[in-house]
């Protein structure tokens, strides 16, 4: 605006105002392109909207809020005592993350704290779950599929995960900002959404975990996720409609090999609503310096 004011007040430039404005406009357009190129590099064309799958409606996860089913507990007790001992999940596959020695020790220390109710889960402080924990909380999600982006709208912590499908690339490593959700870019392989995620916070600030057992990765973790709509027959012989989420996690600092985990989100009956969720509205549990989450009495004092 200041530049326009100068153009308007200058008699000499007035005669050339049209050309000057055109040049200014061209400059802005070029600047915008160079800005975009710096971070992405656009695809030649976007996928046609009509070619994209219909993932409308509300979807709810089943199968526990942990990735590592080998260490799954319910109310402080092992969900299946044999799992912890054998490291074999109920599905028959090893679910314990392939940590290196250093990160296995970190995880074991978290599990020990978890067993005593002392692991400081960031959710207790209303910190958003981020990725991949968005697939590991109780509340349902919605998927908004558009040619240039897919949005995952999570009720829990009111989070939105954006996956760019416009052909753009991740920022170069030196320009990345590591966040709870990281940076996700992907494409459509037929009806399968495939995307990679980088620039995750990980455990660098001790406030981002993969699940409530204290499973953590480093800020060097990255993931390849595939989501597709499938029909599966359940134990009762009924065919169910679901979105199968398969995440392959890699972490050169923490894992010795890629680790693939799966989550299933089932289509909910039509009319199933997602509601507002403001975690700080009335949080009557606090975390003390030892990691214990405590109740606050009516007098404002911690109940011991």
């Amino acid at each position: 605006m200041q530049l326009l004011a100068v153009l308007k007040s200058s008699k000499a430039l007035k005669q050339h105002r049209t050309k000057a404005l055109m040049a200014l406009g061209l400059g802005i357009v070029l600047a915008a392109f160079s800005y975009t190129d710096e971070f992405s590099g656009h695809a030649a064309e976007l996928p046609d909207f009509d070619s994209l799958p219909d993932w409308s409606g509300t979807w709810a996860r089943r199968g526990g809020t942990v990735f590592d089913r080998a260490t799954w507990t319910m109310n402080g007790r092992p969900a299946d005592p044999s799992n912890r001992a054998t490291g074999v999940s109920a599905l028959g596959t090893r679910a314990h993350p392939p940590y290196n020695e250093e990160w296995e020790a970190i995880y074991e220390s978290h599990l020990a704290l978890r067993d005593r109710g002392l692991f400081p889960d960031p959710l207790t402080r209303c910190i958003a779950h981020g990725f991949p924990r968005i697939f590991n909380v109780n509340s349902p999600v919605e998927f908004v599929v558009r040619p240039e982006q897919v949005w995952i709208l999570a009720e829990h912590t009111r989070s939105t995960m954006r996956i760019y499908t416009d052909g753009s690339s991740h920022p170069p490593p030196e320009q990345r900002w590591h966040t709870y959700f990281g940076d996700s870019r992907g494409h459509w392989d037929g009806d399968i959404l495939v995307f990679t995620t980088v620039a995750l916070k990980g455990w660098r600030d001790k406030d981002n975990v993969l699940d409530r057992s204290g499973l953590v990765l480093s800020d060097q973790a990255h993931a390849t996720t595939r989501i597709q709509r499938v029909q599966e027959e359940n134990d009762a012989g009924e065919v169910e409609d679901l979105l199968l989420v398969a995440i392959t996690l890699e972490d050169p600092r923490a894992l010795t090999e890629p680790w693939t985990v799966e989550k299933r989100f089932y289509k909910q009956p039509e009319g199933t609503l997602i509601f507002d969720y403001e975690c700080n509205e009335n949080n009557r549990a606090v975390v003390d310096e030892d990691g214990r989450s405590l109740f606050i009495g009516l007098d404002g004092e911690v109940i011991e």
């Binding site: 002392l118 969720y277 403001e278 989450s293 009516l298 109940i303």
Partner: protein, 130 residues
């Protein structure tokens, strides 16, 4: 409140049916803080805090000394309750209620909701008649 002997009987009757089917309070850990036995209280609804991250039911209860105590009973996240057909009017202010809960190990009047029956016979949550 009921006598300890009656409480124990209630616990024995209902505990078995509750352990398997109950949903855990997921927002925060309660390991070592919440008793597994069932405590039963009878009183009047002061307020139903239909709020995130968890709902709380405030209940006035007259104790054995004739004094009114306020109990705080934590329940699930309101979003989940809405999808199960509950709403902010589920516990009307002033309603008489008998409520079962897992009490804090301190013995303070605070705990986690199990089930309730209102004076009009409406049953809420997990409840089996004795």
């Amino acid at each position: 409140m009921k006598t300890p002997a009656k409480l124990l009987l209630v616990s024995m009757v209902v505990a078995g049916s509750l352990v398997a089917g109950r949903l855990a309070i997921a927002h925060h850990s309660t390991v070592g803080q919440i008793a597994t036995e069932i405590t039963e209280i009878t009183g009047t609804i002061k307020e139903f805090q239909f709020t995130n991250p968890h709902s709380w039911i405030q209940v006035y209860v007259t104790n054995d000394d004739g004094q009114v105590e306020e109990w705080s009973v934590e329940w699930l996240i309101p979003n989940m309750l809405m999808r199960r057909g509950y709403n902010p009017s589920t516990f009307p202010k002033g309603a008489r209620v008998t409520m079962r809960l897992n009490q804090h190990v301190s013995g303070k009047p605070i705990g986690e909701f199990v089930g309730a029956r209102l004076a009009d016979g409406t049953v809420i949550g997990d409840w089996e008649d004795e």
